[in-house]
């Protein structure tokens, strides 16, 4: 479970150009939930996602991952939390270009110290769920945009994180590929019970998800 208590985040604090990017956010994301952050550009979706994903710090308030107050952690501890508890899918350039699809999917597990046999088995499993098991030996740049994003999702899922944070993963995809990716992520969310937090202003996605969190000017509405 993720819990945010009165979270505030500023950019350029105490400068004339100050931006109050997150305003008194209170939010709970239950385990296994699929949550969509939606709202106009600049409303604070990415900022919120980065705060939850321990990528960024906040200025006040508290963020808990289960019992752990992640908003108190230092840089190094946040890196460890990201590695062990979070999965990330970004808009683009997710993959390591010199590694094969198989190695990319297993990358996080490798960092976590899983054995090669364990990694291989799990990679097979998620790759077939995401229908990229025939591309395991390919290099990322030989894949289509949609396939690359599926590999990124596979990598995020493979290590069985508490939560997957996906910031506009479909922004560079056409509607058909977007649709496929969403469906696969929903399926994974159900099968693996991993929470997914998704930021997007894609109308298509709104129809597929149960929970939508709307943001406007850094506030929940």
């Amino acid at each position: 479970m993720i819990r945010l208590q009165n979270v505030n985040k500023y950019f350029y604090k105490d400068e004339p150009r100050e931006v109050h990017a997150l305003v008194d956010i209170n939010l709970i994301i239950e385990d296994g939930e699929f949550t969509l952050f939606s709202g106009p550009s600049g409303c604070g979706k990415t900022t919120l996602l980065n705060a939850i994903g321990a990528l960024d710090t906040i200025d006040s308030g508290k963020i808990f991952l289960d019992e752990l107050e992640i908003s108190l952690l230092n840089e190094k501890e946040r890196t460890r939390i990201r590695l062990n508890k979070m999965g990330f899918v970004f808009q683009a350039y997710n993959l390591v270009p010199v590694l094969s699809v198989e190695e990319n999917i297993g990358f996080i597990m490798k960092l976590q110290g899983f054995s090669d046999a364990q990694i291989k088995e799990r990679v097979q499993e998620v790759a077939s769920l995401l229908k990229i098991d025939n591309k395991l030996q390919s290099l990322p740049n030989t894949l289509s945009g949609g396939q690359q994003q599926r590999v990124a999702v596979a990598r995020a899922v493979a290590s069985k994180p508490k939560i997957i944070l996906a910031d506009e993963p479909t922004a560079n995809l056409d509607s058909k590929n977007s649709q496929t990716l969403i469906e696969m992520m929903l399926e994974l969310n159900e099968k693996e019970g991993i929470s997914v937090v998704f930021a997007s202003h894609d109308e298509l996605i709104k129809e597929s998800v149960r929970r939508i969190v709307r943001l406007e000017d850094g506030m929940l509405v």
Binding site: T46, N50, L55, D56, K76, T79, R80, I81, R82, L83, N84, M86, G87, F88, F90, Q91, A92, Y93, N94, V96, P97, V98, L99, E103, F107, I108, K110, L111, G113, R155, D167, E168, A171
Partner: protein, 403 residues
Amino acid sequence: MFKLILKMAWKNSFVRPVRTLLVVLMIAISMGMMLGIEGLYDGMSQNMAEKNKRSDSGDISIFAKDYRINKELKFRIQNAAKIEEELQKNPQIRSLVLRLSADGLVSTARKSSFAQARGIDLDDEEAFGKFSEFLEEGELLLGDKNAIIGIELAKTLKVNVGSKVVFSTQDSSGEINSIALKISAIVQTSNIILDNNALFIDKKKMFAFLGVDAKDATQIAIASDDAKLLNILKTKYPTLDVKSFFELQPMMQMMEDMMVIFNSITFFIIMSVVFVGIFGVMYVSVLDRIREFGIMLAVGMEYKYIRLQIYFEAIFVGLIGFFSGSLLGLLLLIYLRDYGLDFSAFADALQSWGYETIIYGTIKLSYFTTTFLAIMSASVLSVIIPLRKIKNLNPIEVIKAEK
């Protein structure tokens, strides 16, 4: 994990093959050249040292005290034959030779010059330093009336094989005496002093001419590879002047010292080339991949692994450069060792310094180990600044920049 990082580093070294190749080439060529020059310089000084040892001092020479300052007959080693006997029992001594020399004047009908008459035994000299290899002209003969002359002295006196010369000097009783001699051969020892001054005369003849006991000598030259021998002899013969080759030839010592300086310069030149080269590729490559690193940091890869990867990348490029450079350098060195480099255009200048006109290189393992160290340290140093780019990287900024 380690394996994966190695693999990523290795593959990344070849992501831009042309770029990498250029740096490798840069390293290889500079290294090859440097090795060649090093080998040549080394070969030159070694050759000079070797000829000097063979023709004159050996590794160690023994004189009577004061002889080297006042080259007078009264400062000769009395009963040198007894010392010879003792030394011959020493297994550390490869060979030794006794000489009786006297400074004096050599003259033809027209010209005269300072000369050093060196009473030698040709067979002993042959065993000691392959004297016959120095022969330039004529026949190595030391009969009762023959003399062998150094090449430069022959030029000064304008004499040839068959010419007659007169050598005069003070004998042991203080009288000035002369002998007439016929030049039987001209030798080039590449030992400047001998080439300029030496007049080799039969030792037996010298004893009689100078009125010196046949057991005496002015110099005992010893050939030995034992580094400890010098001190042993110094303590054993405290009343004599026991000197090593380098003590006798300070110029040779200087050349050796120069070699050390030269090697350090080589070291730094290679290091700079490698540094600049690898710094260039790594800097561009890191900037190219800033997003890749941003994502790695974002998903939880620790900075130290990225650092390791960058170090490996630099080391790979350095290593490939080193091996190409070694190959190039080795080929060059082998060529220089076997065929030499012809400097006959500068022959006069070189010969007057005791160098040969064709200079042959040497090959030493140390050339490669030093450059290896130079390249490795430069590789590691060159990524410090590129690494700072990553260390200060904020993954959020990088990810945001994608949009």
